[in-house]
């Protein structure tokens, strides 16, 4: 390859990169800039606002009928509790599947694989009516409760995460925990003292991904939650863009930015973990 053609090739690549970067970030630059724009309507809005203001954010947070802070808190609460259960339950399930020999193991592995490829959300009609029925007997997991939503989240995240953690535990030398058990440790101690510290990076990755997906979930939250004081921020954002899409852009965009910020920060703080987790999980399969 001649030097000129190499330079030419690079220039093309950088141009391509520039176009893509614009595609990737312009929508968000625009939203952020609109949220700081004093102009109330989009008609007068430019990419770079003439006057900057935080008034939109103040209006959003002080608006009592919108309940935005409550929605954010609901989202954090539901996601945090879900992540806790997803991580604990999948870890101990995966340990058992990796380290115990027992009857029915093959069937259970098969079941998990099938559940993993089957999109359970298809059954939304049944999930809705089921929650309604549960609610009559156990009020805290009925419709319009966070308990019910968490149950669906945790159960839905089980299959994929159990498979990933199990594959990871399988890759740890069996001798490590076996020798501990020979010396009189219980399985619980072997899991907690030996295996868990090794899989901790994986657990962190799973936890973060689970947080991002439960926080960002719209389908199930929208299906189960109805009350203005119960909905998560994704459902809230959807509802209030439906209602005031044309009227008050400032508040809408401010809400959008605030709703996105927590997970974006979380992602960029833990980027290395997540990217490694994603690629190693994929490449190993």
């Amino acid at each position: 390859m001649t030097k000129e053609s190499k330079v030419f090739g690079r220039t093309i690549k950088y141009l391509f990169a520039a176009v893509l970067v614009a595609f990737a970030i312009l929508p968000f630059l625009w939203v952020v800039s609109t949220s700081f724009n004093a102009a109330r309507s989009l008609l007068g809005a430019h990419m770079i606002p003439k006057t900057l203001t935080i008034g939109n954010y103040r209006d959003l947070l002080s608006n009592e009928t919108l309940n935005f802070t409550r929605w954010m808190l609901n989202s954090f609460k539901v996601s945090a509790i879900s992540v806790f259960f997803i991580v604990t339950i999948t870890c101990i399930t995966a340990y058992a599947l990796s380290r115990f020999r027992f009857k029915g193991k093959k069937a259970i592995m098969m079941g998990i694989m099938i559940l993993n490829v089957f999109p359970g959300i298809l059954a939304m009609i049944a999930i809705y009516t089921m929650m309604q029925q549960f609610g009559t007997y156990i009020p805290w997991i009925g419709l319009n409760t966070h308990g019910g939503l968490i149950c669906i989240y945790v159960s839905g995240a089980m299959s994929i995460n159990t498979l990933m953690v199990k594959a990871y535990i399988d890759s740890i030398a069996f001798e490590l925990d076996e020798s501990a058990i020979m010396e009189g440790a219980t399985h619980w101690q072997a899991f907690w003292k030996i295996v868990f510290p090794i899989i901790r990076p994986m657990v962190v990755t799973i936890g973060i991904l689970a947080f991002m997906s439960t926080y960002g979930d719209f389908i199930i939250a929208n299906l189960l939650l109805k009350g203005n004081d119960k909905i998560t921020v994704m459902v809230g954002i959807y509802q209030f863009t439906q209602q005031r899409f044309d009227t008050n852009w400032g508040i809408v965009t401010a809400g959008t930015v605030l709703a996105a910020i927590p997970v974006v920060i979380l992602f960029f703080m833990t980027q290395r973990h997540i990217l490694n987790g994603l690629t190693s999980g994929a490449v190993k399969q």
Partner: protein, 498 residues
Amino acid sequence: MNRFLRLFYVGVFVFLGSFLMFRLIRDGFYPLAVFVGACVVFGTLVFLRKALTPYRWMAVGIALAVLFTIYPIVYTVFLSFTNMSGGHLLTKQQAIQRILEQKYIPEDAITYSWSAYKNPAGEYLLLVFDADGNGFVARPGKALEPKGPLEEPPAELDGYAMIDMVEAVQRIDEIGKIEFGAAPEALTIQSLGEAAVSKPAFAYDEKTDTFSDVVSGTTYRVNRGTYVSDAGEGLSPGFMVNIGLGNYTRFLGNDGYRKPILEIILWNIAFAFFSVLFSFALGLTIAIAFENLPGKRVIRSLLIIPYPIPVLVSIMVWRALLNERMGLVTSGLSSLFGSSPHFFTEVGWTRFAIVLINVYLSYPYFYILSSGALKSIPKELYEAADIDGAGPLVTLRSITLPMLLRILGPLLIASFSFNFNNFTLVWGFNAGLPAMADTIVPMGHSDLLISFIYRLGFNTANAADYGFSAAITVMLFILVSLMVFFQTINTRAMKETA
């Protein structure tokens, strides 16, 4: 764990589980009762038998998956054979209960005038007067206490304070629901001036499974989930019954459903296919093109920005960008070309926008995956190709692509199946619109099957039709399973030949 303590826990568990099961059976929720029962038996066995120790570790996970993932799938199939819908939401047991609660006031009933009293705890009682001016105190669930003739109702009575007319008017709905007095002679208020003993309006005969009107004697018999009189008058509420293949024949046997659903299915497949194809192609192109480019790290972190942003948020932003009147993209296009496509009302443009947004949402994921997978392709393969004089296109076609597909195949399938049911995107962007013309139930041109089902179940002006939606869901189950099955076989075969 202490043996007795464990027995105690198991005992409590069995007690609570059986109690729940008993109530489910009483109210006619048989499928749920079976699943709860299975979980109770499973839990008990696992915690009592030593041989099942490994299952103790998995008990919670299995129970959750069974109740909240597997049960809904089974229950969907069950529902698809019933007429569960707006007027038929309850089980038969519940419906009978509700009908028995309906009251009427017999013509010879004694009527009273009343004053309501309320205590600080928010409980009510009534002081009622019969036509002769005799007063009675009526408390919920207790027999009337005669107070003898009274001139005026006192302002206070046993720690209850009388509520004035204004408050009584405001709370009349609340108070009207309460039955004062003991069961057969219970009083309910009928109006501001009147309270009376009401009686059940219908009597149920268990042997013949019929209701009869207490006053007129009309008999109501079961007919497809409703008690109906010979004159054709039905009692409300109805209940759900098995209607066999009714829901299936309703849309398979009807051109009015079949044609639009076929259109939805075709668009659904095309949408999932092109979404995966384009986002994978873009992600892979980026991964290959920028692999050795100086400044790659900066470009990379800018390009994956859409990845962490919650999908719904991005969709809302795109909705704003493409907004008819004031969106940045539409107004930009208008000023460039004089007019702009209508991304929310023209079928082709709506679909185009949806695929475009999906590429925006998913290419970072494929970019991350592809660049990881590229690293795992052995370098020797490329060196060998280089020695053989293969150009970049040939290496791409005969080394990079086959190797990548082998590694990423399962993830591509997963992504296809995810996008096949990408409710959030389609509903968030345009709720499945623009609407199709002249359909029996509302359908949209950008609807996926799942958003169509959602609208049918929850978003129609007419009554929610759960049984019918469930039947379409079952067809969707079969369709998705078949596709995943064949694609898995395909990638297996590809792996073996590669």
